[in-house]
């Protein structure tokens, strides 16, 4: 019996002869914040694309015993797999509350869709609180700050009952405190869900990763705990490089 939230085996993605992802195996479990790192162009986003139905691949993705390969994007989403994008996309014309309400409603019956919303579902209210946007319920999403949009995006996955979340650089452009807030948010979310995060911010990874998989040139280069991975010389060579120097700077200026 398979207890993983998501099991990917042998994922391979080809673009006109160029192999962006090459036989990747990956499992995600509930309760963990799983970091996916690797050099630019390693295939992280492409892997997420494949799992969510945006890129054609060979191999297999199984969730709750169901094979997802070949399914349409919206079917996969309804199976509880949610994702965010490297650049946040929310419905700019709609308010925060409307954004969340829509995200909560993929399973609604046509009949309820055709009626007016009486009150916000409890779940929406709760998530709004959780992502710190309770005060912005009636703000059009288009005028939210960058980071707020990213939180909203995560919120949209939460209300949609996704239990596998794939987040592509969710803290890009965030300041220190926002990063910490986001990190704590991710851990709270992960209590009942599986969360995968693609990130290049090593401080963030060190602070919040439960497990790390490193991709390189489309393949899994290393996997394990933060320390295991960070001390792997191959990872240092292709990815971390002078990262230690980096720490010195941080220490100096703190």
């Amino acid at each position: 019996m398979n207890s993983h939230a998501l099991t990917c085996t042998g994922i391979t993605v080809d673009f006109d002869g160029f192999r962006a992802v090459d036989g990747v195996d990956l499992t995600l479990d509930r309760g963990e914040v799983h970091f996916l790192i690797g050099p630019n162009g390693a295939g992280k986003t492409t892997l997420v694309d494949a799992v969510t139905g945006l890129a054609k691949y060979s191999g297999s993705v199984v969730k709750d015993g169901v094979e997802l390969r070949g399914r349409k994007v919206h079917h996969i989403a309804r199976r509880g797999i949610g994702r965010t994008f490297q650049t946040a996309t929310v419905f700019e014309q709609l308010t925060v509350a409307q954004n969340l309400d829509i995200a909560a409603g993929a399973g609604r019956s046509p009949w309820s869709l055709l009626r007016r919303r009486k009150a916000l579902p409890d779940q929406v209210v709760a998530v709004m609180e959780q992502i710190g946007l309770a005060g912005h319920a009636q703000t059009p999403a288009g005028i939210l700050a960058h980071g707020q949009k990213q939180w909203l995006e995560i919120g949209m996955l939460l209300v949609g009952d996704a239990d596998v979340l794939l987040l592509d650089e969710p803290i890009a452009g965030m300041g220190h405190e926002e990063r910490d807030t986001t990190g704590r948010l991710l851990h709270a979310i992960a209590e009942t869900r599986a969360v995968a995060v693609v990130e290049h911010d090593m401080d963030f990874m060190r602070a919040f990763a439960s497990r790390v998989t490193v991709l390189h040139a489309g393949r899994v280069l290393a996997a394990g705990s933060v320390d295991e991975v960070a001390n792997d010389p191959r990872v240092q060579e292709v990815y971390l490089g002078a990262a230690n120097e980096q720490e010195t700077i941080d220490a100096a200026t703190a």
Binding site: T45, F85, T87, T89
Partner: protein, 294 residues
Amino acid sequence: MDLLVGQLFTGLSTGSILLLAALGLSLTFGQMGVINMAHGEFIMAGCYTAYVVQQAVGDAGLSLLIALPVGFLVGGAMGLVLEWLLIRHLYHRPLDTLLVTFGVGLVLQQVARDVFGAPAVNVTVPQFLRGGVDLLGTAVPKTRLFILALAVVAVAVVALVLRFTAAGRRIRAVVGNRDLAETAGISSRAVDAGTFFIGSGLAGVAGVALTLIGSTSPTTGQSYLVDAFLVVVAGGMGRIKGAVVAAVALGTFQAVFETYSTASLAKVGVFVVIVVFLQLRPQGLFTLRTRSLA
């Protein structure tokens, strides 16, 4: 047999006419996203340019050679004015350009009516383009061969410029991302205006050429417009290669279908074929993909 050869050539010829009418659109519509419904009227302006030049010059052959560049300038100038007055305010509202330019088209038709009168005028075909040449036993009109050659030349020039020159890169850059192009030191205003000038100028050239086979009247441009748009759509927006293939395919389909059915049904057939075709290649024959959402 004769008829079949004739029809195959007709397909090619119809395709080349469509292509000539659509080439400018593949710049202004395909590249810039402007749905210029006045493109037909720019073609019409090209027709009247040929007429006016002929009135002034007299000799039909000489006037055709003069009218081709002049038609380019006339169409281009009209495009420039349109771009400056209206289009530049509408780049972020492509669907609105359709409605505005439809209005412009109406006005231009009426202007033509008031200036040249409602009845068609005659542009005499030069002596050296009269009659036909024998091709495998069929008489192929020289005028159509001329248009075919002109289309080939025009397409080649446009494609090479876009692909390999600095100007072509600039056009593609501005089309792709206006703000970013500005910050790369490219004047998007100048490039927009220039692109629109060329696209509209090509309509003028098409107009001059089309006087050889069609009528010159205020409504002339309308006959070509919808088909020209379809060519650009079926070919894949902004893809010259696609436009060529689509134009020839549609022309041939129409000519062959018409032989066994009626001209009207052929038009309907073309539409059905395109819808079916878009099931297979929703973004047209040749497309460029990006990874962005929206």
